[in-house]
């Protein structure tokens, strides 16, 4: 390693890193501190002599209790979870097969098809929800979880397909050819050899798809109307902001609880996740 002047390391490494970490973590800290702050402190004037914006002297769980008891938050949590899991499974299944086909099979227009799948991912949901709303109404799926389970794949499948296609391309095709000579069909080779090797890629596609559906807002806002059908992002916003009154404590408690499952999922699979995105198979 080349020796460098210490100040360089501070200027180019430690200081930017610190700024970055603070910038990333401060919103979470603010969310947390607001969630455990009693109402008395929350609605105190900013200029009050006793104002302590960055910490609290009387932490309380009252907002969490209210969130659980006075709102349908547990139901929202379950709805979100159910919708995210089912739409992730559907998207992963389709993405796996499509990604494999695009990466490995030679068929006419394969390149065009791959690109057009990617283009559909670029269509903004704010445009797409108008025709989708029509479809949802025609199938009488409005205000049911299926409205979201069937619309989320419109952006999840292209995403999964592209991520997995990239991952499959990093797996040497000889592995599969060898399996086919060893006695497997193409499908058998895919399931027995390629999928097990692609686990990091599949996991990261799954985690990403799960997060995207967990956090999705627009479709959930439009297709679900009754409070007990809502997902966390929509429920928290629509039920805890009434007119111009913000229930800050409960809002932040809801946001905090809503982000925990995602954080847990990420921290479990973070290593897979990184290899999944960078793609590496060492024979």
């Amino acid at each position: 390693m080349v020796l460098e002047r210490p100040w360089k390391k501070w200027v180019f490494f430690y200081i930017p890193l610190t700024v970055f970490i603070i910038g990333t973590l401060f919103p979470f800290y603010w969310m947390f501190i607001t969630a455990i702050r009693p109402d008395a402190e929350l609605y105190r004037s900013w200029r009050a002599a006793t104002n302590t914006p960055f910490w609290t002297l009387a932490p309380t769980l009252e907002h969490f209790r209210d969130l659980m008891a006075k709102t349908s938050f547990p139901t929202w949590l379950w709805n979100t979870f159910f919708i995210a899991v089912v739409s992730t499974v559907i998207s992963l299944f389709c993405g796996l097969l499509a990604g494999y086909a695009l990466a490995r099979l030679k068929f006419p227009m394969a390149g065009t098809l791959g690109t057009s799948i990617f283009v559909t991912y670029l269509v903004p949901p704010t445009l797409l929800f108008i025709p989708l709303a029509d479809i949802i109404r025609n199938f009488r799926l409005g205000n049911t979880p299926w409205a979201l389970i069937l619309t989320y794949p419109t952006f999840l499948i292209p995403f999964c397909t592209w991520l997995l296609m990239g991952y499959f391309k990093t797996i040497p095709k000889e592995l599969e050819e060898c399996a086919r000579i060893d006695g497997a069909t193409r499908f058998g080779a895919m399931v027995r050899i390629i999928f097990p090797i692609a686990v990091p890629g599949i996991l990261s596609a799954g985690i990403f798809a799960f997060t995207l559906s967990w956090n999705e807002f627009i479709y959930a806002l439009i297709f679900l109307s009754s409070p007990e059908q809502k997902t966390v992002p929509v429920g928290v916003v629509s039920e805890l902001i009434r007119g111009d009154i913000y229930f800050w404590g409960q809002l932040m408690a809801g946001a905090l609880l809503g982000s925990i499952p995602v954080a847990v999922v990420y921290s479990f699979f973070v290593e897979y996740y990184v290899t999944g995105l960078t793609g590496s198979v060492k024979g």
Binding site: D182, G183, G283
Partner: protein, 360 residues
């Protein structure tokens, strides 16, 4: 055990005609090597035999079955790949047992065959390891082991030694040869390394641009190359070529080139008479140039570079305007810019048509 026959085999990709009218009869138990520079169609040919590439035209027969439309798994072949293609998520044992499991062999039989193959290859202790815990040579052995447990009719090798370091390559080469003598299974082996081709093959096929240039036993290719390409490809260092003309002198023929004049031996006169006064290419192998001597077959050369290799010395020399390489005894004390007299055995010279490059 089976023969492999290729009849008028062709492979065309969109733009490229990769394999052109290949006719080849690989006999039962034969070790056939396909050799050629990259892009010559040798790997494509092998992959067509394996069933990994579609055949554009022609037939492939394994045993007495035409296998053109059979999927790879039904051709009863085993293949060893250049990058070993070991399944990274399986242990060595599972890698070797995979083909047998897919064919629903009883467990005891699988165990016995894997153990036998592992003992044969000296990898008995590695069976529980994963491929990433193995060295290159060990991986190569596992890949070979995975092929032999199946007792296939034909082994296909696609440059299996290219990823090994030089020393290991020589060692594995010997092991492969020993293995083939013992198993007596028909083998098709693709390589770009002519030394591997010469040492391993019962017969060798030299390919270029999709065409077969010559098929023959190693020494036949070395001694009687069919054309200039084969002559230059087989042998290391490569054969020297010089532009020359044939002229009649005193009843006999003489090959002349700036720097030397060599009388044509009587046995060759008949064939070369037709080229009288025309340009042709003269080929001299580096090992056929001897130091010293006078007379009709001697000529002077200027030493440009001396490469002492221990067991021999390679001299880069200039004869007239032609740069050539001579392989001489290690005892020769040659210096740069020195003038040395060489002579050649006229019977060991090769002549090629300057236009068609075919041997005369």
């Amino acid at each position: 055990m089976a023969q492999v026959v290729m009849k008028a085999l062709n492979k065309k990709y969109d733009e490229v005609h990769a394999v052109k009218d290949v006719n080849l009869h690989i006999r039962d138990k034969e070790f056939m090597v396909l050799v050629g520079p990259s892009g010559c169609g040798k790997t494509t040919t092998l992959r067509m035999v394996a069933g990994l590439e579609e055949i554009t035209a022609g037939d492939i027969v394994i045993g007495d079955r035409v296998v053109n439309d059979l999927p790879p798994k039904d051709r009863d072949i085993a293949m060893v790949f250049q990058n070993y293609a070991l399944y990274p998520h399986m242990t060595v044992y599972d890698n070797m047992a995979f083909g047998l499991k897919m064919r629903k062999f009883p467990k005891a039989e699988i165990q016995k065959r894997v153990q036998d193959a592992a003992d044969l290859l000296g990898i008995g202790e590695l069976l529980k390891r994963k491929p990433r815990q193995l060295s290159g040579g060990q991986r190569q052995r596992v890949a070979v082991g995975r092929a032999i447990v199946r007792h296939p009719q034909v082994f296909l090798f696609d440059e299996p030694l290219s990823n090994l370091d030089a020393k290991l390559r020589v060692q594995m080469r010997v092991e492969l040869k020993r293995l083939h003598d013992r198993l007596e299974t028909t083998a098709i082996y693709v390589t770009h390394d002519q030394v591997e081709a010469m040492t391993l093959g019962d017969r060798v096929v030299v390919m270029k641009d999709g065409w077969i240039q010559q098929v023959g036993e190693p020494l036949e290719l070395y001694g009687k190359p069919a054309n200039k390409f084969v002559a230059g490809f087989i042998g290391s260092p490569a054969m020297n070529f010089a532009d020359a003309t044939v002229v009649e002198e005193g009843g006999g023929l003489v090959v002349t080139s700036p720097g030397f004049r060599i009388p044509v031996p009587p046995a060759r006169v008949e064939r070369l008479r037709a080229y009288k006064g025309q340009a042709l290419t003269l080929g001299i192998r580096p090992e056929d140039m001897r130091i010293g001597g006078d007379g009709a077959h001697a000529f002077d050369a200027l030493v440009d570079v001396v490469e002492p290799l221990g067991s021999e010395i390679l001299l880069n020399i200039t004869i007239g305007q032609q740069a050539m390489v001579a392989r001489v005894e290690p005892t020769v004390r040659a210096k740069i810019h020195e003038k040395i007299r060489f002579n050649v055995e006229p019977d060991r010279l090769h002549y090629f048509d300057a236009k068609t490059e075919a041997a005369i």
